[in-house]
Symmetry: C2
Amino acid sequence: MAHWQAIAPAAAQEVEHPSSLVVEFGPDRPLALDCGASLSPFTIAYQTYGELDAQRSNAVLICHALTGDQHVANVHPVTGKPGWWETMIGPGKPIDTDRFFVICANVVGGCMGTTGPASRGPDQVKPWALDFPVVTIRDMVRAQAMLIDHLGIDTLFCVAGGSMGGMQVLQWAASYPERVFSAMPIATAARHSAQNIAFHEVGRQAIMADPDWKGGHYLLEGARPEKGLAVARMAAHITYLSEPALHRKFGRKLQERDAPTFSFDADFEIESYLRYQGRSFVERFDANSYLYLTRAMDYFDLAADYDGVLARAFGKTRTRFCMVSFTSDWLFPTADTRAIVHALNASGASVSFVEIETDKGHDAFLLDVPELFATSRGFIDSAAHARGLPPAREA
Amino acid sequence: MAHWQAIAPAAAQEVEHPSSLVVEFGPDRPLALDCGASLSPFTIAYQTYGELDAQRSNAVLICHALTGDQHVANVHPVTGKPGWWETMIGPGKPIDTDRFFVICANVVGGCMGTTGPASRGPDQVKPWALDFPVVTIRDMVRAQAMLIDHLGIDTLFCVAGGSMGGMQVLQWAASYPERVFSAMPIATAARHSAQNIAFHEVGRQAIMADPDWKGGHYLLEGARPEKGLAVARMAAHITYLSEPALHRKFGRKLQERDAPTFSFDADFEIESYLRYQGRSFVERFDANSYLYLTRAMDYFDLAADYDGVLARAFGKTRTRFCMVSFTSDWLFPTADTRAIVHALNASGASVSFVEIETDKGHDAFLLDVPELFATSRGFIDSAAHARGLPPAREA
């Protein structure tokens, strides 16, 4: 047995034991990557919920965000917490698992069972580390299409996701228009902004500055760049919230004391909250995966593949779109969504667009935002009707 | 000679050789600190420009921001770059050194000659490091008042500064209302927001995560937490700019190439720009000073000393205020300035308030923004007239 297994962190162990369904693609089914390399063999770890109907017409693919994974609607095997989108997906929920067959796969480059930098590399012993090829959002979607083929599904009833998940939804609609009946990209953009690239670069530099990163070979060397990854997460986490939400939740409240300590302890509640976010993240996420997935988002520029004209990405699409943004999301502001809506309009697509008023920031797509659920339910029900799917059961 | 000197970085050397005027306060003149400790002996390093008039009535105190120093209008002795506010201060400039005696002092806790954590500690051999007491904005202002006393100046014609400098201006007006004839706090706030505390905490965690920080004792151990400090600077630097400015300057432009490298090299111009910002910062700044000065900003809450009522901080002030904010400053947004203006109005102060339209973000106060210069010139000239100072010479 290889040495690195004994010293692998939770994330790498998950690559070996994903607590999920897996599909292995052998040498006969390589994944062609945008960088020119191909990945073979490779594994996709995924979860499903509900049942595929006889016509194979009720499948919904959920695409996860940067630090999400396939455990969208079940207790997470590492953290023990509820699935990351149980507010949206489940029996009777807007994406109703009594009606739909819901699939969620860990992305290529991830660390929860799908092949990524913590997976065994070409020698089948050592982890890939930085020899793993740089992947793109389109690569992630190409891998998902192979999974959908494997499941015998021709057309997805819906593809939905927020943030990096939304990028995948847009890429699905562009790459496989005939396979996407409806699409719900939430709090996302057709390309990553300079400011967002900048924040990602800070996170990557924080990880690579940690001597325990060891040039990417930390798994082999029995280390983990926990401090660097925690700093990366802390910086990113601020961008997922909004100033009003932070002010409402934390303000300048001191922790369990009346006066400042005049020290570098976590005097303010926001400080201990951020430190907790950093600490808990490193328990479930692989640092190299963080490098690869942030890079994939930075590279995302859907129009670039179509001579810089975003509308061309959607050609003569017949997909029905529902675009959602949030007023206080400064990471993927409404202007980014509006640019997509304009492109969809220019290509004659069916698109509805809702900007939801909330102070919850970018993370609103994961939180209890009734208007998001109502919007999603309405869109899904209407698309299901158009698709000829049976209506929701009476409650 | 103590061992640590031989291995001290530029910043610590500057503490020993500040290339500035210095005043040393001996055991008979301790600096009483908000934390309860007192600092004695201690040194203030400062620069002056222009000449003090016979009535000692034309002195302008400039308060520097987090990473600024006393070299406001002369070539910086470490970087060789122009002074940080030469656009504003100099012969014929809005703060005209042909008319005014301009003083700028390195703050207590800084690293350019004023006593701070890199200075020799109580044993006069080892640097203070984390034994240096945590200082506040009010402590900085108290030390500046001792410098002003030392210079024989009773009333300052004007106190001006942006960001952390603006906090000091507000504190001056609150602590010594009779000594401040006019005040120009720019791009600042009466208290640091939860989001700003959060960004500072990320920076501090990045520094403290660097093993070369060595629990704060890096100077003694011949190390420097350069990587951690660079990450802190990179994260902070994003907050000094604005998304539109980043987009205009960098967009998604690739560095000297046509296609992405599919690697973690600095593909995008914004990445190499940020890395450069990080690298160049560590050459001139002490990591522990960064911890102390960010902490001072976090603790700043002017109203807290006045039962939470900001207007009381300004009592029956007769200081003339000019408040300036910038539309694209999301670190110290206009709402923060407006809160101060309301408090000043409530206390019957003379206050003018200008929100300047610019996409340059928080850093606008340091940049070429003609409306800022025009506003400053108008305010200064009018205040000088009210003070009975002679008008500007004909050009």
